[in-house]
Symmetry: C2
Subunit: 146 residues, 2 copies
């Protein structure tokens, strides 16, 4: 409890192998397949995990129906260091089979970004913003903060 | 692109003020309210952001309907350092108005954990596992890795 944080984010997926291949292409990060039936992607900060949707729902409660209709209500974001990085990540996602829901463009908040949805329809924003900077570790920080 | 990571996770919420108060209680982390209409919680690793659900859906695309029926398909996780920490976080969430969907218990994978759902129905797993350790920064790592 010393360091409140999101340790891991788990996406419930329809096809574990396909989803793993997709994220390996997009993130260019090795997958940890040590544990059967779940894929861990040990990103810095917060890990990403992939798990069959039915199993994820069942792990929470038998009352949770493993159907995922419509918008999840959640977006994941990758903040880039430049407009060019945003374009490059979006192209990488497109090549891996993502649907580009919003092609990168100038945003209303003075940044530049777009959205892709992954093979299961989860939305990622890829954006650059003039108010954002990065710590040495690569975490986001606001420019006016030290 | 040097450091692939989830920079931020945004939850689309029904009532921004209520959601902000809830997460302030649960995470005990100051909220950044500098930007109107959005709440940033600058957690180490990956930030959490709260944004009205309709605005979030609209930012992605006019085709996305801002209705969030059923299971989002996504779980957030906080990994604790002990069973006691898991119990403490769950109690903190309960006090803040979360619904405890699964009371903490021994898990099938040899750990100990439970789930709560926040005011908008997003699911958090709070768990301790014998295979998990933490970096100096507080990130997860596997015990058998250096």
């Amino acid at each position: 409890m010393k360091i409140p944080r999101i340790s891991m984010l788990t996406l419930g997926v329809a096809d574990l192998k396909r989803a793993a291949k997709f994220y390996e292409s997009v993130l260019k990060t090795p997958l940890n397949l040590t544990y059967e039936g779940v894929v861990f992607i040990e990103l810095p900060g917060t890990w990403l995990a992939l798990y069959p949707l039915e199993n994820l729902a069942g792990d929470i409660s038998a009352q949770i129906h493993p159907s995922k209709e419509g918008f999840s209500g959640i977006t994941l974001a990758h903040n880039g260091r430049s407009r060019d990085e945003v374009l490059a990540v979006i192209e990488r996602a497109r090549s891996a089979g993502a649907r580009i829901v919003k092609e990168p463009r100038e945003t209303s908040w003075g940044g530049f970004g777009g959205y892709f949805s992954d093979l299961d329809g989860y939305h990622w924003e890829v954006a650059w913003g003039p108010m954002f900077d990065f710590t040495e570790k690569g975490e986001l920080k606001f420019k006016d903060k030290t």
